[in-house]
């Protein structure tokens, strides 16, 4: 038994929850349906039994009537025989009418029972005989009267007795036949009542049994349900623990990165200072001796190597620390409402010298309206600078970098497009990964760490933004930053700024005449709103 239970539980456990739930619900439902059908069947059987009993009782009643009619006929005839009064013949006459009808009804009632039909035919024959005898007796009596001519002629007692006795035998036989018939019917009735009672008992028993089974099934279902619930709770708890553990691990990793980066700074600082102090000492010794020794230039280049490597290392540590710090979304106190248009135009001015130094050109296409975003301006600057640095690093001299800022639906979009070497298709999905380099040799020459784009993407994501890139090898790349726009609060836009906006709008119109770069996107609904506000004021 225990083994079976275990085997069942083994079969049960791996079932999917959907199946288990269906089974649990199916158990009581099945029990209910079985009980209902069993009950209906029992009810139908009982009704049939009842019909049969009624049928039998009707037969009984009819038989009794037949017997009574027969007795009435006999009594009527006898009374007439004794008294010669016609009124005694009334029961006889009515019985005469009644008996054949009664017999017909009986025959039709017991039509399903051939022995009883035979019996009825026997009875019919006997009653017919009886009636014939009664008729003969009556005709005899009447003819006797007509012969004697006197109504009150005394008939000798002996004759009367004989007359009365005549047909008694047939009458008894008829009675006996009716009794036999009745006995059979009685037996049938008893049998049917017994059958009904037995059925009733069985029905009760079955109902009780089914009720018990249903109850047990329901309890079992409840138990299974409990078990399922417990299992689900266990699973949830397990998931929670796993989740907690993962979170911990993640936090630990983040903290480790932060700690490690922090701890790495101290020795780096010492190495850097030492090398630089060494270089200073070297400067002095070279100043003292007009002709520096050969080894001194060797020492100098080595010290300078140490300095540049340490600086590189420290940039890397700084970048790692930065990545570790800005893993999650920015908190509300770290962001402020900034005008992206103003920021970007400032950056463009700042970068012009750098661009010129690399023999590149930089152009920008900025909207005439402020694009307000919720952002940390320092981080945003870092992100866009990384993109920009990337652009000039991989764009050969004579190339062009183009910045395009516009709003699209509820997003501010900043495109940084270069005419550089481009990124191979297979690398596009990887460029945002930390330390990934498309061409390691080349990157080393340009001095990148392989973290710039990762940092850029992380910053943008921390602002609930998104970065996309398209590129064609040999033609250049376009990085696009999407940042959610803040709803422009009309109250903050005073009449002065609105005025300047309208002036700007004119310049946009002028620009569109000669240049196709300013598209209609920059003149969006917000500008129209501002204009109408201006008109009202």
């Amino acid at each position: 038994m225990a083994g079976l239970a275990r085997r069942l539980s083994h079969l049960w456990q791996p079932l999917p929850i959907r199946v288990r739930g269906a089974i649990i619900i199916a158990i009581p439902v099945t029990c209910l349906l079985t009980t209902l059908s069993a009950f209906a069947w029992l009810k139908a059987s009982l009704a049939e039994d009842e019909t049969w009993i009624q049928h039998t009782q009707m037969v009984r009643l009819e038989t009794k009537q037949l017997a009574n009619a027969l007795v009435d006929a006999e009594t009527g005839v006898r009374g007439y025989g004794l008294t010669q009064r016609e009124e005694f013949l009334e029961p006889y006459q009515s019985a005469q009418v009644e008996i054949p009808g009664s017999l017909d009804r009986l025959e039709s009632l017991v039509g399903d029972n051939p022995p009883q039909v035979q019996q009825i035919q026997e009875i019919r024959r006997l009653t017919d005989d009886n009636l014939t005898i009664f008729q003969q007796k009556l005709s005899l009596k009447r003819s006797l009267q007509q012969i004697s001519g006197e109504p009150d002629t005394k008939v000798p007692a002996a004759d009367l007795y004989d007359w009365l006795e005549e047909g008694k035998e047939t009458m008894d036989m008829a009675r006996a036949a009716i009794d036999r018939f009745t006995e059979v019917e009685e037996a049938l009735l008893a049998q049917r009542i017994q059958h009904r009672d037995r059925y009733q008992q069985t029905a009760w028993l079955a109902l009780c049994l089914l009720a018990i089974i249903s109850l047990l099934a329901a309890l079992f279902a409840v138990r299974l349900f409990h078990q399922l619930e417990r299992e689900l709770a266990d699973r949830e708890a397990h998931l929670k623990t796993a989740n907690h553990r993962l979170e911990n691990a993640c936090n630990q990793l983040q903290r480790f990165t932060a700690d490690a980066s922090h701890e790495l700074r101290a020795p780096l600082a010492a190495v850097l200072s030492n090398a630089q102090v060494g270089l200073m000492a070297l400067d002095d010794s070279e100043a003292d001796f007009l002709e520096p020794a050969d080894y001194s230039s060797d020492i100098r280049s080595r010290l300078e190597n140490i300095v540049s490597l340490t600086k590189r290392m420290s940039t890397l540590v700084k970048a790692l620390l930065f990545l570790a710090r800005h893993e999650s979304l920015l908190a509300a106190q770290d962001v402020q409402r900034v005008d992206l248009t103003k920021l970007v135009s400032q950056w463009v001015v700042d970068w012009q010298t750098e661009v010129a130094a690399h023999q590149l050109t930089l152009s920008a296409d900025l909207p005439t309206v402020p694009l307000t975003v919720n952002a940390n301006p320092h981080l945003l600057h870092q992100a866009v600078t990384n993109l920009f640095t990337n652009a000039w690093r991989y764009t050969p001299a004579g190339g062009h970098i183009h910045l395009h800022l516009y709003s699209c639906k509820d997003q501010a979009v900043l495109e940084v497009q270069d005419s550089g070497i481009g990124i191979p298709k297979e690398s596009l999905s990887l460029i945002f990964e930390r330390f990934y380099r498309v061409d390691a040799k080349r990157t080393k020459a340009t001095g990148g760490l392989g973290l710039g784009l990762a940092i850029m993407q992380q910053i943008v994501q921390a602002h609930r933004g998104e970065v996309r890139v398209t590129s064609a090898v040999g033609q250049g790349s376009t990085f696009t930053i999407f940042l959610p726009l803040e709803a422009v609060d009309l109250k903050t836009v005073d009449s002065k700024t609105v005025d300047s906006k309208t002036v700007d709008l004119k310049t946009v119109d002028l620009k569109t005449v000669d240049s196709k770069t300013v598209d209609l996107k920059t003149v969006d609904l917000k500008t129209v709103d501002l204009k109408t506000v201006d008109l009202e004021t």
Binding site: A266, P267, L268, A269, A270, L272, S273, Q276, T310, R325
Partner: protein
């Protein structure tokens, strides 16, 4: 210039101290906050450089303490803490400048020069007495057509004398001003340094300007022209 440099990591303290000394400053380097606080009370400094995290007392409370007692010398925070919030906290505590490690020595020296310029006692990048000019930024001394680069030790002594011309400076005063805290100068150390400086100035024919005042000390006395 006399500088108090507080840095708990001796590996970092030593090269910075060397660099600052090398550029002609007298640097008291200490590794804990408690000693630093005691020195701040005992001595006058022209510049203080604090690390943030220190045993004993941290750089921020040293800063606050220094400002509370009413001293005005510039303070430079030199720390690995690099967030904006940290910088704000450091500057609000009373620091005049904030540098994040690892720092480029050239930048540190430039910042030190910049802070020196902000001192109320600042009178240009050079000191002049009669026709003798001492350039503070490159430690060269100049008279007429001749110029000469001084070692940091000679520069410190000459700077000190030029800042107090025509005053008798005792052995003790010189020792207090030019020797780092914790160093034990030998009894004839001052004499030896005076002697060496005179030798260096011989090229400029200014060696006689340092006069010995018997029984008292020395006096920088340019000839009355």
């Amino acid at each position: 210039m006399r500088i108090l440099l507080v840095e708990d990591d001796s590996d970092q303290l030593e090269p910075l101290q060397a660099a600052l000394t090398h550029t002609g400053h007298v640097v008291d380097g200490v590794e804990d906050g408690t000693t630093a606080r005691w020195l701040m009370d005992e001595k006058e400094y022209d510049l203080l450089i604090f690390d943030w995290m220190l045993p004993g007392e941290d750089g921020i409370s040293l800063c606050q303490y220094y400002r509370q007692v009413g001293k005005a010398a510039p303070i430079l925070m030199l720390t690995a803490k690099d967030t904006i919030a940290d910088k704000v906290k450091g500057l609000d505590a009373g620091a005049d400048d904030y540098l994040v490690k690892p720092v480029d020595v050239a930048e540190l020296l430039a910042r030190v020069r910049a802070l020196r310029r902000r001192s109320p006692l600042w009178c240009g990048d050079q000191l002049q007495v009669a026709d003798l000019v001492l350039h503070l930024d490159n430690m060269r001394v100049e008279r007429g057509d001749h110029s000469l680069k001084l070692s940091s030790r000679d520069f410190q002594l000459l700077e000190y004398m030029l800042r107090h011309p025509r005053q008798v400076l005792t052995h003790d005063q010189i020792e207090q001003s030019l020797w780092e805290w914790g160093s034990e100068p030998e009894s004839n150390a001052v004499t030896a340094r005076i002697k060496r400086l005179r030798q260096r100035l011989r090229v400029l024919d200014a060696h006689t300007w340092i006069e010995t005042v018997y029984g008292a000390g020395y006096c920088f006395q340019p000839p009355a022209s």
